[in-house]
Every structure is written in C-alpha cells, then in structure tokens.
C-alpha cells in the first residue's frame, strides 16, 4: 500500500467498520476478519481492537457480551443512532470526494 494512502486508509477505516454494522450486529472477530479480507484495508488485524475501543468510547457503537457454545464469550457490536448519523454524513462526503478525485485522476491520465 502506497504510503500516501496509509493515512487515508486510517481515516476511512472506522467508517468501514460502521458500515459493516449497518446491517446488524456483528461480533469482534467477525468484524476484524471481514475487514482483514478486504484488499489493502488492514495490515494488522490486531490494530482494529484499539479502533473498536475508540468507537465505543465515542459512543458510535455499543457492545454486548454473549455466551458462545463454541468457546469464550463473544463481544457483539451494534451501531448507535449517533454512529448511524456519523456514517450517513461520511457517505455523502466520501461520494463527493471520491468522485472529484476520480475525475481529476482521469484528466491526468487519458487511458
């Protein structure tokens, strides 16, 4: 991943987490591995745990622990109302931004 993009990636990662939660609750391991599978999004899965902690602290997600038959209890994450509002605002910004960037890149690169 180009160094120029790593800051960008860090910036959008939390919104990707919020987006994954829009459909419904997911537990930590699920979130982490799904994001880890998306090409180029995460270099180390472990760093998502501090990110999730920050989202909890900021009130954008909330969690519940549930017992699991197949091992240790699982921490399930859900989007809060504030989290959903934040995500919606980001999607609008992102669409505008990525459209602009794509447009400019296309101009500089006539293929």
């Amino acid at each position: 991943m180009a160094p120029a993009l790593s800051q960008l990636r860090r910036g959008v990662l939390e919104y990707c987490v919020l987006a994954l939660l829009r459909e419904g609750e997911r537990y930590a391991f699920e979130l982490v591995t799904t994001l880890g599978e998306a090409d180029g999004m995460v270099t180390s899965e472990g760093t998502l745990y501090p990110l999730l902690s920050r989202l909890r602290k900021e009130g954008l997600v909330e969690t519940t622990w549930r017992e699991s038959t197949s091992g240790p209890p699982r921490r399930y994450y859900t989007l809060t109302a504030e989290g959903e509002a934040t995500l919606d605002a980001f999607v609008v910004e992102w669409r505008r931004f990525s459209r602009s960037v794509d447009g400019l890149l296309a101009m500089g690169n006539p293929q």
């Binding site: 930590a28 899965e45 760093t47 745990y49 902690s53 240790p72 921490r75």
Partner: protein, 201 residues
C-alpha cells in the same frame, strides 16, 4: 485466563502485556482479553505451529497493536504559543500588582482565572499563595517592625520595665517573614513555568 494456548500464542500475549505496560490498567486488561479471545477464535483446538504463526502474523506485532491505542490525529492540531500577553500579565501582576493602589493584584487574578493556560489547581495556588503578592509581604514586614515597639511584641517583666521582642519568638517570626517574602516570587515563577495554552481541556 484459563484457556490453554499454544506456547507461541502464550509468548505473544506476554509480549503484548509488556508492550501495553503504559496503558491504563483497565484498558490493558481489556485489550489482552480481546486479543486472547481473537486468538482462541482464530485457531482450531489443537493448532499446528504453522497455523499459529499465520494467525499471529495476521494479528500484527504487539507493538503495532499498542501503538494503535494512541489517539494521535492524522494531522496535528495547530500549536499555540505557551504564553501570551494575558499570561504574562498574570505572572507579573500577582506578585507586584498590589503596589498599584492594590488594584493591580485583582487584575492579575482576573487574568489568571480567565486564562486557559493553567489548571484549576494552578490557579488556586496562584491566588492563595500569596494574596496581594509582595505588597502583602511588605505589610507583614512592617507589622513585624511595629511589633518591636507595639503591644504584641512587648511585655512587662517588672513594674515599669518593658521588654520588647525577645530571643526565640522573633527569630521564628523572622524566618516566617523571610519565607513569606519568597512565596509570591516562587508562585510567579511556578506560574510562568506551568503556563501552557496547549494543555488539553
């Protein structure tokens, strides 16, 4: 935790614990639990060494994970100067303002309390040590001077014979007064050094 782990994973968690030593204890514990739960979830009951190594590699190094705990913004906030004119006004007026018709000290207190550069504790110290600053110190000195010949410092040891001041107590008084002279100056220096407009909150 009671779950049995592959030795490589145990070692990893030990390293994580050490890397996270500077975190608040509750968060450190929480992070350790989360990572351990992740590892248990990622591995089969009797994992091969290769499987463990792969899982740990995908997790990233303990240092990387702990680094991600720091909330650093992608773009640092613009830095302000540590002190501006208002802070300097407080630092100068608190010790010396009492000489400006007494009002200067109060202006210093206003400058002190309305500034963002100090914590509440700093501000309390700046106000109480010493109210009135060096002007108060001077007033106390002249009281000491009066005490020599005024009532409080003198006693009648024999009819018609009055002794004023006297050994022990006036030395103690002198030391106290000397300390009290230093206090406003020490407070001003303390305030000048602890002022920081960039302090959080």
């Amino acid at each position: 935790m009671t779950h049995a782990l592959h030795p490589l994973a145990e070692d990893y968690l030990d390293r994580l614990d050490r890397a996270a030593a500077h975190l608040p204890r509750a968060r450190r514990r929480e992070l350790a639990d989360e990572i351990e739960a992740h590892i248990l979830e990622a591995l089969s009951p009797e994992p091969s060494e290769a499987e463990v190594r792969n899982a740990l590699e995908r997790l990233g190094t303990p240092e990387e994970i702990v680094d991600a705990e720091a909330p650093g913004p992608a773009v640092p906030a613009p830095l302000r100067p540590r002190m501006t004119g208002q802070e300097w006004a407080a630092v100068v007026l608190l010790p010396l303002g009492g000489f400006l018709l007494g009002i200067g000290w109060f202006i210093g207190v206003i400058a002190l309390w309305s500034s963002r550069a100090w914590s509440t504790l700093d501000k309390v110290i700046g106000t109480l040590v010493l109210p009135g600053g060096l002007a108060t110190t001077m007033a106390l000195w002249s009281t000491y001077g009066l005490g020599e010949s005024g009532e409080s410092g003198c006693r009648e040891v024999a009819p018609g014979s009055i002794v004023c001041g006297g050994g022990g107590s006036s030395t103690v008084q002198f030391v106290l007064l000397f300390a009290v002279t230093l206090l406003p100056v020490a407070t001003a220096i303390f305030l000048a050094r602890s002022a920081d407009l960039n302090r959080p909150g």
